[in-house]
Amino acid sequence: MSREAYQVPSMGTQNAFGNDAGYTNAMATDTPSVVYLCGECSARVPLKRGDQIRCKDCGHRVLYKERTKRMVQFEAR
């Protein structure tokens, strides 16, 4: 669809949450830990970059990413 669809000639980004399109410095020093959910026991598993993938509680090997906490909104068109 998108290839042929009419592109609205708008400025900036198309994405809904286009706050600032500038550059930000990502993780200058320490890697942040992100919390995942265990696929077996639903425990919250914080992982850092390069950590081994398993639940800290039950050792399960599938983790789900949590739904984003940000506001998600789209333009209704």
């Binding site: 990502a26 942040p32 390069g50 990413k65 984003t68």
Partner: protein, 1233 residues
């Protein structure tokens, strides 16, 4: 008090509360829908049989037996001669015996290398789906070995991990209750029966094979090709060993009356005179053979000169071999087949012959520790086959049809799995021989008695063999290819497995119910195999209770038969004696009159349950006929047969009837078919012949039969509800209907199969009217308001694996070179941050479109000092979303390794793509009436009824006359009255008749609800508000949304990717290519005189280009760009080709670039636009004017050749010119004006 067991009785009622309760509280005891589980039982049971009770694998190990290898060198012929001349004894060689005593298969568990999970080390199917892994368990074998006659030593060997069928005795969920299933992320009605290979659900197809242990007479033209004097006649038997592997034996008739025995061994065919086999089996003489074929000297058989002549010849020609005694024949066979049998070198020829008879000749009659009685059974069977062969040649019996279900059975998935397992184990044992010899050579001729051997056997020899049997089975399941040195007596090498697609539940369940005819079937040019034969009645399509297993003992039946008067003497005259067989073993003979009595008695006992006759015994009584099927009583008790329940009239009890016995029985379909004194059985219900899917077509007996077939096809392509555990599924593509409903019109079976757990469509108010211009044939109009309320709204879930690990480097210890996340210190754009989270993975719930960055990663190197991964370059790389369609990120799974010690390398992202119905999407009723949505019509403009009702859907009346789907009309009435009264309508076929019509039944209901008796009502135009002249047929029809949607199909382009060589558009929708306007389309456009359209399609949207051509010599190739003249005044404006730019503009008026004429010439002829024909120019001389001269790239100066122009030509024309020039052919174009 214990809670009451879950009720498993279902009616046609909606049962809303009961189903809701079941859904909220999955039963703790057993499933509420046992008939569903029953329907896939053959898969699960056949897998269970490999390791459990019937111990198929144990029988296989017995058949494999002990493999023996000798050390030292094999004597050459000269050495042997020399040794015998010197009178020395043969050198003593040591024997190494190996055998597999037992095979164990464990349930799937974590490998011991994983030290992190302590509580629960079991691996469940859902984890394998989510991790895109294989659900497999460790296979181990108890290997025993001995040297010479020493003690047996044993070792447990690990043979890799083999895939395990879900819900079998090697699965954790075998006896799980619905509640436990839900706790383990399965459907509450998970059936199992499939394997999980790399996250895909794979199942082994059921395959049609010849009926086991029944000698079939066959006339096949290709038999003539076996050799000289071979004829088309043969008798073939598929002899099945206790381990379910089979060996086909064929007797061929030769034109001189002789008979040869053919078999195939390790993919090679061998022919043996049948006499030699007979004489090798038992100690016998020519008279005994003659009399056992023809009959006693006083019998009627002696009068059959056709047979006596041939038997005489059979015996006479065999004299030439000069092998008479049993030991002579066995030794001869042994000597001949020693090289292919794989027996140890020191085995005697006689023993080798015995081994041959055990393995190849009718193994179903004796396969392990063959006794003399068993050999005699084999002898009798071959004699019988010779008789049948002669009867076939003489025309006394008809050939059996190998395409009829009566001569077929089913190869079940589990059995095939067991066969492959057996073969792999045997190959593994055989492989020790060469490895041991190699070991001996490496150790300077060490022998098996050396002490080093005992030390090295396990560590060096067994270790070197390929012990990974699990890998072979995983390969088989993932590709469906059979890699086998023996061929397993099967006809094809590929296509054994299919993916169990969960497009909707009908599709899924159909995979388990289908039967594969073999891939050769599809290529057959003759249509005889497709013939619908009367003996196939009710067997293939459904078989509610297919007989796959017999746990009954049949060992007492021969004794019972002898009491009934079966005796051992016989003659070739069929009027005197007919055969009585049980599972391919000849019990004896009796007269035809006796045979009928025996059959009747046995069947009575079987149905009544007396004398321990098994309930599922197939008693095939074939009466004496004039040149029909060869008569006799053939009983079958073994597994893999088909059978179905019918009612025995006399006893009023269930009798299981198989396809072999069925053609000779009198089974009435309905009561009106009963013939007094003839009919013995009656169908329980006429719908027994319909499959699960076919039963769901309402009133299917009112439809033209092809329409019912179309519906069965289409219900499997419906966008329905694949299940309730969608969140835990990772199928590549999953379709889901958001607004599924239970049909108002459905049979009671709908509830029995629990199909409300998987709704497949919506009840729609359908008006049959030609209303707008948009309802042309097979198009339908959807009410826009219905659309907005969610009619037919669907979703597609796509799961994609994004992996960082490179695929190329296998085996080598994978090193981590990339990690998800932004490179430390890298600057990241804000719009990327909006898509990608801190961890380098996308946010869940965001919208992604083509080309969006969805994951970030960077290169790392492992730093052993700090035990971390270090990034050096500080560059972030991105993975992109490549689909053309906008989607949303539904979920992300981070897949760890089985060992639980690796960082993120793979993520599995599930995308959700909403698909509301749009113009061009496909819909269908349940009667093979598919149509495409042609317009979403505003509700205000829809017609309305007196009560203000508007249709959800308008279809054109022309859909009916030619297709004759009367059942849809009945469904419309039934649905309408059902909706008005609030009760479900039973739509079982065959319930109405001419006297008691469906129209009256539902018409009365409609009248009671205040509607027109015939289901039509006055409608008013939504546009004018006036009543239509005719009453419109309007009712409630269940509509399915099919998965074929325009968004997956549309293919349009004006410009786009082109082929690099020709400049023409590429093909293929995925690549953005076009649909070819081919010769026929071109012809049609010419015929219409649509010249401009042709020009547009074939030139402008294809490879049109502007090219310079010389007017004088008519050549593309000789034109060249002149380098800007060296002189100061030479580069004058006048030097530009006169008129060329104008010509270019004329040639391609629609390609005029916005820059003006100069840029057209400029694009072609370089900066200055000076193009000359090199061929028409001459080298400049001293006295040529500088203004006229031009310069080529090498500094040479020329004069002339300026009569060039620009033309628009197809790019391939110039390419053709170049190609022809390369062959020395010049093309010349004549340029006018």
């Amino acid at each position: 008090m214990a809670p009451a067991p879950t009720n498993t009785d279902w009616s046609v009622e909606f049962d809303t509360k009961r189903r809701d309760h079941l859904f909220r509280n999955p039963p703790k005891d057993h499933t509420a829908f046992p008939s569903l589980a029953e329907s896939i039982k053959p898969h699960v049971d056949s897998f269970n049989a490999i390791f459990e009770d019937s111990k198929i694998l144990q029988a296989a190990l017995k058949d494999i037996g002990t493999k023996t290898f000798l050390d030292g060198d094999i004597e050459t012929a000269e050495q042997r001669k020399l040794r015998i001349a010197e009178g020395r004894r043969p050198p003593r060689r040591n024997r190494l015996n190996v055998r597999v005593r037992e095979v164990f298969l464990d349930k799937p568990t974590l490998p011991p290398t994983n030290k992190y999970s302590t509580k629960n080390r079991e691996i469940y199917p859902s984890e394998c789906r989510e991790r895109h892994a294989t659900y497999r368990g460790k296979l181990r074998a108890r290997l025993e070995y001995q040297v010479n006659n020493g003690d047996w030593m044993e070792s447990i060997r690990e043979l890799g991990q083999v895939p395990i069928m879900v819900r079998t005795n090697r699965c954790h969920l075998e006896k799980a209750s619905p509640e436990e299933l839900v706790n383990h992320k399965e459907e509450s009605e998970e059936l199992g029966g499939y394997f999980i290979v790399n996250g895909n659900e794979k199942l082994i197809r059921m395959l049609i094979v010849g009926k086991r242990n029944y000698p079939m007479s066959i006339i096949r033209g290709s038999f003539v090709k076996r050799g000289q004097t071979y004829t088309k006649f043969g008798v073939q038997i598929r002899s099945v060993r206790p381990d379910q592997t089979s060996q086909t034996n064929v007797l061929h008739y030769l034109s001189d009356g002789n008979v040869t025995f053919r078999f195939s061994w390790r993919k090679n065919e061998f022919l043996v005179p049948v006499m030699m086999i007979l004489k090798a089996l038992v100690e016998t003489n020519d008279r005994e053979i003659f009399e056992s074929i023809v009959g006693g000297a006083t019998s009627n058989g002696m009068k059959n000169t056709f047979v006596t002549d041939r038997v005489e010849l059979l015996l006479r020609t065999y004299q030439a071999y000069g092998k008479h005694s049993k030991s002579d024949c066995r030794s001869h066979l042994g000597k001949s087949f020693r090289p292919v049998l794989g027996v140890p070198a020191d085995m005697s020829d006689y023993d080798c012959g015995t081994e041959f008879l055990r393995k190849v000749v009718l193994p179903h009659l004796g396969n392990y520790n063959v006794t003399e009685t068993q050999d005699y059974d084999k002898f009798k069977m071959i004699i019988f086959m010779i008789r049948k062969l002669y009867a076939l040649v003489a025309g006394d019996c008809a050939p059996d049809n190998p395409d009829a279900v009566s001569n077929q059975e089913i190869l079940l998935g589990g059995f095939l799995y067991g066969m492959i397992l057996k073969e792999r184990i045997e190959e593994w044992l055989r492989s020790f021989g060469p490895i041991a010899r190699d070991w001996s050579i490496r150790n300077n001729g060490a022998t098996f008695t050396d002490p080093t051997f005992e030390r090295d056997f396990l560590s060096k020899i067994v270790k070197r063999s390929n012990e990974n049997i699990g890998n072979a089975l995983e390969y088989f399941l993932s590709t469906g290819n059979l890699v086998s040195p023996t061929g397993l007596d099967l006809q094809q090498t590929s296509g054994y497995t299919v993916m169990a697609e969960k497009i909707n539940f009908y599709r899924f369940i159909s995979h388990f119910r289908m039967i594969h005819r073999g891939s050769f079937f599809a290529q057959l040019k003759t249509t005889t195999v497709r013939k619908l034969l009367p003996e196939s009645w009710g067997v293939l399509v459904s078989c509610p209770y297919s007989g796959w297993f017999s746990v009954w003992s049949v060992s007492h039946i021969p004794k019972v038969l002898v009491q009934l008067g079966v005796q051992s003497t016989s003659s070739v005259a069929l009027n005197d004696s007919v055969v009585v067989q049980l599972d391919g073993r000849i019990i004896g003979f009796c007269s035809p009159q006796q045979a009928l009595k025996i059959h009747d008695t046995l069947r009575y006992w079987k149905v009544a349950g007396k004398n321990n006759i098994p309930r599922d015994l197939e008693i095939g009584y074939i009466p004496n006929t004039n040149g029909g099927q060869y008569p006799g009583i053939y009983m079958f008790s073994q597994s893999a047969r088909m059978y179905r329940p019918v009612k025995h009239l006399a006893l009023d009890k269930t009798d299981f009837v198989g396809p072999f016995e069925q053609p000779f029985m009198e089974i009435a379909c309905v009561e009106s078919d009963l013939v007094p004194g003839v009919s013995t059985h009656i169908e329980f219900t006429p719908t027994n012949m319909l499959s699960i899917v076919a039963n769901m077509t309402p009133f299917s007996n009112y439809n033209q039969s092809p329409r019912n077939m179309y519906q069965c096809q289409m219900s499997k392509q419906t966008m329905g509800t694949p299940g309730t555990s969608i969140a835990f599924r990772t199928d590549n593509k999953l379709y889901r209907l958001q607004t599924g409903q239970t049909p108002i019109v459905r049979p009671p079976l709908y509830n029995a199969y629990g199909l409300d757990n998987f709704p497949n469509g919506m009840n729609a108010i359908v008006a049959i009217i030609s209303y707008t211009g948009y309802d042309m044939d097979d198009a339908m109009i959807i009410n826009k308001s219905a659309h907005e309320r969610g009619f037919g709204h669907g979703t597609i879930y796509k799961t994609k694996i994004h992996s960082l690990a490179e695929k190329e480097r296998r085996k080598s210890r994978r090193e981590i070179t990339k990690l998800f996340g932004f490179a430390p210190g890298d600057e990241v754009r804000g719009d990327v941050r909006n898509l990608i989270d801190e961890d380098g993975l996308p946010h869940i719930g965001i919208r992604v479109k083509e080309g969006d960055k969805i994951a970030a990663f960077h290169n790392v190197r492992y730093d052993a000092a700090s035990d971390t991964y270090v990034n050096v370059d500080g560059i972030t790389h991105y993975l992109k979303y490549k689909d053309a369609e906008v989607g949303y990120i539904e979920s992300i799974r981070i897949m760890g390794s089985e060992n639980g010690n690796e960082p993120i390398q793979n993520i599995s992202v599930k995308y959700r793509i909403p698909r509301k119905p749009i113009i061009g999407d496909k819909f269908s009723s349940r009667h093979g009436q598919k149509g495409v949505c042609s317009q979403l019509w505003p509700a205000v403009d829809m017609p309305f009824s007196e009560s203000g009702m508007q249709p959800d859907l308008i279809i054109n009346p022309h859909a009916f006359p030619s297709r004759m789907t009367i059942a849809q009309m009945i469904e419309s009435m039934a649905g309408k009255s059902g909706a008005l009264h609030g009760h479900p309508q039973d739509s079982t076929p065959f319930q109405f008749s001419e006297e008691n019509t469906a129209t009256d039944y539902f018409g009365h209901q409609l009248r009671k609800a205040g509607y027109n008796y015939y289901g039509n009502e006055p409608l008013y135009s939504g546009i004018t508000g006036r009543e239509f002249a005719a009453d419109i047929y309007m009712g409630v029809v269940y509509y399915q949304r099919l998965r074929h949607m325009v968004n997956d199909k549309f293919q349009v382009r004006t410009t786009g990717p082109v082929n690099a060589l020709t400049g023409q558009p590429v093909k293929g929708r995925a690549k953005g290519g076009g649909i070819r306007v081919g010769e026929m389309e071109r012809d049609s456009l010419i015929a219409h005189g649509a010249a401009y359209l042709l020009q547009d399609r074939l030139m402008n949207c294809s490879d049109s280009q502007l090219a310079w051509i010389c007017r004088e010599c008519g050549s593309f190739l000789s034109t060249q760009v002149a380098v800007a003249g060296s002189g100061s005044g030479s580069r004058a404006r006048a030097a530009i080709n006169p008129g060329a730019v104008a010509a270019a503009a004329k040639a391609a008026p629609n390609q005029q670039a916005p820059g003006g004429a100069a840029s057209v010439g400029g694009a072609l002829g370089g900066q200055a636009g000076i193009v000359r024909c090199r061929r028409c120019a001459r080298q400049a001389t001293f006295n040529d004017s500088r203004a006229e001269a031009w310069e080529d790239g090498t500094g040479l100066r020329y004069v002339g050749g300026d009569n060039v122009t620009v033309v628009a030509v197809p790019g391939v024309l110039r390419y053709l010119d170049v190609e022809l020039a390369a062959m020395g052919i010049r093309m010349k174009f004549k340029i006018d004006n």
